[in-house]
């Protein structure tokens, strides 16, 4: 199995209000098709690490490799392109564009990528929404949906470009157990049948127990 994500000694400091090291010598490797969950107490640095892994945060020490390419030091434009193609991200809180319909929200990353025609993208977006059980909400404004529905639309959006890695910061935080199980099954299907890699922060013990590997984080270190 090839490696799709690797970190070398990642350190991260915050300087205000006081200098303090959030992440200490993070060594992490994720294989293609692996389903990883990350657990740890609130405030131990999970979100911070995920922002670095997703290339949005570039202010760290150490090296980050994505798809065997060193991405540390790339320009923000290059990183943006890379995120668009290779990374799907589900945020801790449901982050959709409120003035767009659910369908449009899901389509936007694919339209940006510009690999398929609008027609194909729309079809694909409907598929993803259907998998997540929110197809009937497709044409509603995203701000009109409940929190759980919004989170599922956000997951659909993360999947639209068939990314190499899907990262989620408590992607099931707003879902009931039925929908949590559904999302787990979707993720498992993606890893097992499509070779995509999942890294998800979760507080749901059952969710993490069923995943391929658990990374436990304590005070900015991986154990």
């Amino acid at each position: 199995m090839s490696t799709v994500l690797k970190t070398e000694n990642i350190d991260k400091f915050f300087y205000s209000p006081v200098e303090f090291q959030v992440l200490k010598k993070i060594q992490l490797e994720a294989k293609k098709g692996e389903f990883l969950t990350m657990v740890g107490k609130s405030g131990c640095g999970k979100s911070t690490l995920l922002y670095i892994l997703s290339t949005m945060d570039t202010d760290y020490k150490g090296n980050l490799y994505l798809d065997n390419q060193l991405v540390t030091g790339l320009s923000t434009d290059e990183l943006a392109k890379l995120r668009n193609e290779k990374i799907g991200f589900v945020f801790q809180f449901h982050y959709l564009l409120p003035e767009f319909t659910c369908l449009q929200n899901v389509m936007i990353p694919a339209l940006k990528l510009g690999k398929y025609s609008e027609k194909e993208i729309e079809e694909k977006a409907y598929q993803k929404l259907e998998i997540l059980g929110v197809k009937d909400q497709a044409l509603k404004l995203s701000s009109k949906l409940s929190g759980g529905q919004q989170q599922r639309v956000a997951i659909a959006r993360a999947l639209i470009n068939d990314p190499l890695i899907i990262m989620g910061d408590e992607p099931t935080g707003n879902l009931d157990s039925k929908n949590t199980n559904m999302v787990f099954d979707i993720f498992q299907n993606l890893t097992q049948n499509f070779g995509q890699t999942i890294i998800a922060v979760t507080h749901d013990e059952e969710f993490s127990r069923k995943s391929d590997r658990i990374i436990e984080m304590i005070d900015g270190q991986i154990h």
């Binding site: 668009n84 193609e85 945020f91 982050y95 564009l97 449009q104 936007i108 990353p109 940006k112």
Partner: protein, 407 residues
Amino acid sequence: MNINTKIAQTYVVSNKKLTAVAVLGVLLGMSVYIFMNCMLVGFDKSSNSSIFKSTAHIRIYKDDEICEVIPKETDETFLIVNPKTVPNKNTILNPKMICELIQKEKGVKIVTPQVSSSVFYNNGKSQIAGLAVGIKPDEANNMFDIKSFIVEGNFNNLKLTQNGIIIGSGIASKMNLSINDNINLTSTKSTNKTFKVIGIFKTNNNAIDKSKAYINIRSAQELLQENDNFISDINVSVLKPDDAEKISKKLTIITGYKAESWSKANESLMAAFKMRKIVITFVSFTILLVAGFGIYNILNMTISQKINDIAILKAIGFKGKDVVQIFVTQAITIGCIGVVGGIIAAIILITILKNVYIGGDLGYFPIDYEFLEFLQGIAIGFVITFLAGYIPAKKAANIDPVSIFRK
């Protein structure tokens, strides 16, 4: 359609109120700017046309000369120490040749000689001081469009009637004269000559109407007891009045006589025009600038409302320049609607004002649809909306998405 454009469009449409307010700002700024500048052009045109009814673009004449002081080099006592004007005749020598010389100059349209003479108009016991201008009727008409302000009689008769005279309406009413009446003129040389009124003119300048008369050039020479080589002025009209000053300088050198441009001859009036121009330009530009600040504010507001959206877009792979494009597109869209609206509003304003009768010297309000002013307004409008969008958009492009997600 490009995804950035699509997002921009959604923002324009989904925030109808903000869009409307911003559009209204551009619309008002644009229309007032265009309107005021058209008005300025109208004012200038109307003032110039009233000047050009009696002033040539360039007037060439023999200036008074002051004799030189003879320097005291010897011990002789009879030196001139108190210089005075030399009692020269104010005539242009060899006028035909000089006229031809001027005509060859680039930018010169019409050249016509003129003899003016201070006179007294006598009719019975009443007497008015004034100025009789001897002209070559056709050439002078081409230059000053005299026919356009003839109110009675026929200008063409001046050619046929050697002792014909066209008098100002003020003289006519004061002396109770009408067409075919006789009037007696006395010149400074005490020559008396009787003329027959063949026309009455009325300019928009009372002082001129009360004192001026047109006669044939030969009659004017006779009044002054001069031969037909005597010419007091040569009037020159040029293709572009604004070039008059430049050309006049050249003519001074070429002819050796004083060539005075209309703007020099009306210097104090020109100063007033200039002031008017500065005030209107300044005010209209300020209004446009205020409109620009309006859009700038509104876009700034939109961007701070959309800070979450921007963070998401950047997270899913939009670059800084995409973000700039989105918000600049929004600004330009607002600008386009505002500019079109502004043009329509300006046209309506001008149309209304054009038909307002002011009376007096002006007649209808002097304003017209000035293409260049419209073009200038549109260009400045777009530049301002672009900047008003670009500056906040640039700031938005530098937003760090992580700092937004952490909140």
